[in-house]
Structure formats: structure tokens, C-alpha cells
């Protein structure tokens, strides 16, 4: 099945290497909160607010942020598991769901997703081979061929099909089940795979195995990844570029090395400084950030981080900071690093960001 992607060009590639595989513009999703006597809408959760980004062919884009920042909602919106309120998605030049564009069904053949909970994403009454073969059969592949493809995929994710193919989900460990979920996501030969906290529930020794597998598959099958995680170290390891989200908005984006070595947004810096150091001789002694993230039901006006930001000024409450080049950017500097902050001191402050 896996044709030599790397040598022969993918027939589905329409725009060439320079055209981003996925462009997301002004994506928005507000969830109503109902309550009261007549179950009327009493508030809205601004889960994703005006989020734009693009994913280039062959890269891994990491999305990082704390709970409630909208990273998982973004993934579900992209997969059309929930309907966006506003925004456009363009997959390799084709508008998703637009006239003359690509339909959601066709999109899902090219874009697949792996979830955090390896057990609940598998049907407990299907064997591993049946689970993996299910989608190809639904998309018209004869049963025998679908089974053959499933067995080949099991082997590719490091599970012996003779040993594991006839097993049920409860007979596998968490790491093995997540390998099956990866195989299942690959069954339709997608071009983009979204991982939503896909390694977060695994033990560290197993997590490392799965991350190695993901890198290997990506190179072999010429895949593009959107990797969502709260784990800063994992995102740094696997991503080419990183998107940092806070309360439904993008606060900083850029190449992974830039973001981790020269973070400009005070939130990104606090996030990195909050990582445990892994060195008992260099323990954290200064609290990077106080308080919890505010409730996304009534986010602060203007810059949403201002209530926890040490550099906040009155105008931060009035202006929604645009995602723009850092204020001290020199001509010819890294043009891809963008930050949503209007205070020069906040961008320039050299707080200690330990390298652990």
C-alpha cells in the first residue's frame, strides 16, 4: 500500500510544495452556556476566538497551551467534529465545504486524528484488524484487501499482526492500543494527521517509543502532523514550528527553536519557566506566574493574559493585541516569529528560562 511517496510525487498534491497543506483563517467557536428558569443562554464560552495559522507540507506544527486554551477545540473544528461559528479552512488550495472546494467526507480521507484516550477511541467489540479495516471498507475497499491493509499497518506500527490482529482492545496495554489508533488513523492514507494529546496518557518509557514511531512514520509515509499537547518538552522535541495558545487565542507562533530559545510573549516565558527543571540543584525558586487561567466564559478584555501579566498597562485592556513581528525585530531577522503583545518591555524582558 505505502507507495514510494518520497520518490514519486503524491498525485493528490495539488499546489506543490510551496502551498501550505492547511490554511486556517479567523476560526471561531463560542459555546453557549445555558441555565436559569427557561434554560436560556446565559453566557458564552469563547473557546476559540479568531485563530489563524497554516500548516506546511511535511512539517510538524505543535500547538501548546494550558487547559481551556482552545487547542483541542481547534482540532475538533478542523476535523469538522464540531461546526465552527466562523472562519475558513483551506486544504491544499481547496476551501473546505465550499462550492467548488473539497467536501468534508473527502477531507477526512486526507486528514485523520488520534485522541488521548486510547481505550475509548476503539470499539470494544471489534478486533484490532477489524477496527483498522473498518474505515477503508466504509470507503469502498473490498473486505479481503482491507484486512490485508490492516495487517500491514499493524506491522508498520510495531505490532505483530499474527499476535495482535485478533485481539480486542482490553487485551492490549495502553501503549499498544495507541499504536493501533495510529495504524487506524493511517488506514485511509491521510496526508495530515492531528494528534490531540496522543501520548499524554502513556508512561514515559512508552511515550518515548511512540514518539520515535511517529517520527519514523512521518518520514516514511511523507506525512504532515498537527501535534497538540500540554507537554512543553514533547512539543519542543517533535515540532518544527509551534503555536502557543492562551484562552482561545494565539499569543505567539514561530519556529520551535526560536520559541524555546527566545520567547517574546510573557505568557510563553512563564510557561517555559514553569517546567520542572529535572535538576535537584536548580529547583524553581521564583514563582513564574500566580493564579489559575481565568474562566473562558468571561475572558478579560483586550489582551486576555493581562490579568496575570507583570507588564500589563492600561492600554492592554483596550486593544486586542494583533499577532505581529516582535517590536525589536531587525530587518532580515526571522520573519516567521509572531507575537501578540503590544508592550515592548514585556517582549524584551530577559527572564530566566532554564533549559531543562
Amino acid at each position: 500500500m505505502q507507495t514510494a511517496h518520497q520518490s514519486a510525487p503524491d498525485k493528490r498534491d495539488r499546489g506543490g510544495a510551496a502551498q501550505p497543506l492547511l490554511i486556517v483563517e479567523n476560526l471561531r467557536k463560542h459555546f453557549p452556556v445555558r441555565g436559569g428558569l427557561l434554560n436560556r443562554q446565559i453566557a458564552t464560552v469563547q473557546a476559540v476566538d479568531d485563530v489563524s495559522f497554516s500548516v506546511r507540507k511535511g512539517e510538524t506544527l505543535g500547538i501548546v497551551g494550558e487547559s481551556g486554551c482552545g487547542k483541542s477545540t481547534t482540532a475538533r473544528l478542523l476535523m469538522n467534529l464540531i461546526k465552527p461559528d466562523a472562519g475558513t479552512t483551506i486544504f491544499d488550495g481547496d476551501g473546505v465545504g465550499e462550492a467548488g472546494g473539497i467536501t468534508v467526507t473527502a477531507l477526512r480521507r486526507q486528514m485523520q486524528m488520534v485522541f488521548q484516550d486510547s481505550y475509548s477511541s476503539l470499539n470494544p467489540r471489534l478486533t484490532m484488524v477489524e477496527s483498522i479495516a473498518y474505515a477503508p471498507r466504509m470507503h469502498g475497499l473490498p473486505a479481503r484487501e482491507a484486512t490485508r491493509r490492516a495487517e500491514s499497518l499493524l506491522a508498520q506500527v510495531g505490532l505483530n499482526p499474527a499476535q495482535f490482529g485478533r485481539r480486542y482492545p482490553h487485551e492490549l496495554s495502553g501503549g499498544q492500543r495507541q499504536r493501533v489508533n495510529i495504524a487506524r488513523a493511517l488506514a485511509l492514507e491521510p496526508r495530515l494527521v492531528i494528534f490531540d494529546e496522543a501520548v499524554s496518557a502513556l508512561d514515559k518509557s512508552v511515550e518515548a517509543q511512540v514518539l520515535n514511531l511517529l517520527n519514523e512514520l512521518k518520514a516514511r509515509l511523507n506525512l504532515t502532523y498537527l501535534f497538540i499537547s500540554h507537554d512543553l518538552n514533547v512539543v519542543e522535541y517533535i515540532s518544527d514550528r509551534v503555536l502557543v495558545m492562551y484562552l482561545g487565542r494565539v499569543v505567539e507562533t514561530g519556529p520551535a527553536t526560536e520559541i524555546y530559545s527566545r520567547p517574546r510573549h510573557p505568557y510563553t516565558r512563564a510557561l517555559l519557566a514553569s517546567k520542572p527543571t529535572l535538576d535537584p540543584d536548580r529547583r524553581t525558586t521564583v514563582l513564574p506566574l500566580t493564579g489559575d487561567p481565568p474562566n473562558p466564559i468571561n475572558p478579560p478584555s483586550g489582551c486576555r493574559f493581562r490579568t496575570r501579566c507583570a507588564y500589563a498597562q492600561p492600554r492592554c485592556a483596550e486593544i486586542v493585541p494583533p499577532l505581529a513581528a516582535p517590536l525589536d525585530t531587525l530587518a532580515g531577522a526571522e520573519p516567521e516569529h509572531l507575537v501578540a503583545c503590544i508592550v515592548p518591555e514585556a517582549q524584551a524582558a530577559a527572564e530566566i528560562v532554564h533549559a531543562a
Binding site: 494550558e66 511515550e207 518515548a208 514518539l211 520542572p276 529535572l278 474562566n295
Partner: protein, 337 residues
């Protein structure tokens, strides 16, 4: 570093703790297979292990929270009393008084139908027999102690009215209500965001120093262990495979499992460093543990001798390694336990 030799008895002493789950029609599970340690007041011992290593079961055994079909054996001494021999009425005094516990999920530890103030005050009244208003005043001080802003107002909050980090602080206040000498912490920061996690870790560090508690802290996260521990115990398949000071374990790991766990943990600066180093395979089933060293099937350094019980090697006082390779370096090792 202060010496471990204290004149008074250790805050908690555990000898050869074993836990087996025996249920009819199911294979017997050996969750904890001979855990021993002692911990003085004012020290933090972290038990580091992956899922199924028996770290949480050990903690629940110390607190007497296991279900009736669990067979607990060994010796657990808190302030000089063997709590496995205590009658239920006496155990209730020790629990929540001398020893208390915080959990990963504060929502399941706190009662949703009582306010935070009521829950803390109830504990104080139960254990110390004070009147309600004194207990409520103490509850307010406790909330202030764990840095909950506007404590007086928060006393009247129900758990669902608080954020995750605040609930965790409220649960810590509840656990501290009767000045325990031993605090058991079962992954208390695992469900928290990273910016909140560091706040809770620093709070626990501060409280532990101020109040002189012994903390037994269970985690799967090497980074969290490095932030909080004085001593560390690495647990695998129901046993401590290595113990020592946090620096000994993190900087000069002697057991192949410890070394593997540390090197497979994704840390910063690994970009473009190629493949991650992993431990092959997965942990053994506790219903069918391999004979000898339980880590042997996954160990890159396994030799034929590993099929028999591994020796307990004491490389220096207070440290322990359960591995034949350590024996070669420290031939004065103790007898197998």
C-alpha cells in the same frame, strides 16, 4: 546536608510491606512485594514509578484505604505505633490526625454538598473536640496558610465553585487540619496545568519545611520528583529497585531501570538530537511476575544470573540498589531481602 540520624523515632517506618489482591475467580495480583523505608519529620520521600508499579497501592495501604479483599502484610509504624494492628476505632484517630493524604483529583476527595469551611471544621471537631466556631476560625487560618485569597469568603464556597488549583489548595488545607506528622501525596499535581503545578509544588515545599512534616510523595513525573524530593525511591513491579538521595538517584542512577526511565523522559533541548532512547517492551503483569529480577525481560544489561533473586546492594548508607551489576561495584552488599 543534614544527617538522617535523628534522636527521635522516624515519623513513618515501613517494613516489608506486601499487598496482594485475592478475588475469587481471578488470578492473584501481587501489587506490592516487600517495600521498606523509614522517613524522618521534615523530609520528602518521592516514590517514582510508572502505572502499575504499585506506588499508589503502597500509599493507600499506609493510609488503610484498600478494599477488604486486599491482603496487607508487613509493618507500618507511625509515631511508634503499628497501625496494621490497631483496631478500627483507633485507626480512625490516626487517620486524618497523625497521617493524612492528598489526591490527584480534589473533586473526589472533597464532598460536593458541604462547603470547604464545613469540611475542614468537621475534621477539627472530630479529632480535637473543639467547638464549631473555634474550628471555623482554624479553617480560615488554614486557607490563608495555603495562600487562598480572600479566605473568609472562600470558606463558604462549595468545591465546584473553585478552580482546579484552588481546590487543590483547599484539599491541602483539609489534610493539614490536624497538624499531621506524615502527609501522603498521591500525584497531587498530575492533573494540573504546568503553571499551577509549580505553584502547588512550591507551596508543599514551604509547608513541609515550616510544619516539619514527613511527606511521602508519589509521582510518575521525573521533573516533579526533582523539584520536591529529599530522597527518592524508584519502584518497579511492586518493589523498590533503587533508593537514595534525590541527587544520587538523578545524577548517578545505578539501576538499569532508573537509568532507562531518566533517559526516556523527554526533556528540553532534545530537538534534532535524533531518536529518543527508550526502554523496550512494557511492564510485566502483576498476576504473572517473572522470577528473579522483574525488570530482566526489558533490561539491556540482563545476564543469566538475573533469573534468580537480585541482590540488595547498599552502595552507601541510606541508598539501595537491587541489581547484580551493582554488586560487582559494591561487593559489600547486604543479603537478598
Amino acid at each position: 546536608m543534614p544527617l538522617d540520624a535523628a534522636p527521635q523515632p522516624p515519623a513513618i517506618l515501613v517494613e516489608n510491606l506486601c499487598v496482594r489482591f485475592e478475588r475469587r475467580g481471578q488470578p492473584e495480583i501481587s501489587a506490592v512485594n516487600g517495600v521498606s523505608f523509614s522517613l524522618d519529620r521534615g523530609k520528602v520521600l518521592t516514590i517514582l514509578g510508572e502505572s502499575g508499579s504499585g506506588k499508589s497501592v503502597s500509599l493507600k495501604a499506609l493510609m488503610g484505604l484498600l478494599p477488604p479483599f486486599a491482603r496487607v502484610s508487613g509493618r507500618i509504624e507511625i509515631a511508634g505505633r503499628d497501625i496494621l494492628k490497631l483496631p478500627a476505632s483507633k485507626l480512625a484517630q490516626v487517620r486524618g490526625g497523625e497521617i493524612s493524604m492528598i489526591f490527584q483529583e480534589p473533586m473526589s476527595a472533597l464532598d460536593p454538598v458541604y462547603t470547604i469551611g464545613q469540611q475542614i471544621a468537621e475534621t477539627i471537631v472530630q479529632h480535637e473536640g473543639t467547638d464549631q466556631s473555634t474550628a471555623m476560625a482554624r479553617a480560615r487560618q488554614l486557607l490563608e496558610r495555603v495562600a487562598i485569597p480572600s479566605a473568609a469568603r472562600r470558606l463558604k464556597n462549595y468545591p465546584h465553585e473553585m478552580s482546579g488549583g484552588m481546590r487543590q489548595r483547599a484539599m491541602i488545607a483539609l489534610a493539614l487540619a490536624c497538624n499531621p506528622s506524615v502527609l501522603l501525596a498521591d500525584e497531587p499535581t498530575t492533573a494540573l496545568d504546568v503553571t499551577v503545578q509549580i505553584q502547588i509544588l512550591m507551596l508543599l515545599r514551604e509547608l513541609q519545611q515550616d510544619l516539619g512534616m514527613a511527606i511521602v510523595f508519589v509521582t510518575h513525573d521525573v521533573g516533579v520528583a526533582a523539584e520536591i524530593s529529599d530522597r527518592m525511591a524508584v519502584m518497579y513491579a511492586g518493589r523498590f529497585v533503587e533508593t537514595g538521595t534525590v541527587r544520587e538517584v538523578m545524577h548517578e542512577a545505578r539501576h538499569p531501570y532508573t537509568a532507562g526511565l531518566l533517559s526516556s523522559t523527554v526533556h528540553g533541548g532534545l530537538r534534532n538530537q535524533g531518536e529518543l532512547r527508550t526502554i523496550p517492551g512494557s511492564p510485566p503483569s502483576l498476576a504473572a511476575l517473572p522470577p528473579g529480577c522483574h525488570f530482566m525481560p526489558r533490561c539491556r544489561e540482563a545476564v543469566s544470573r538475573c533469573a534468580s533473586e537480585p541482590p540488595v546492594v547498599v552502595p552507601n548508607p541510606g541508598a539501595m540498589v537491587r541489581c547484580v551489576h551493582a554488586e560487582a561495584q559494591h561487593p559489600a552488599g547486604g543479603a537478598p531481602a
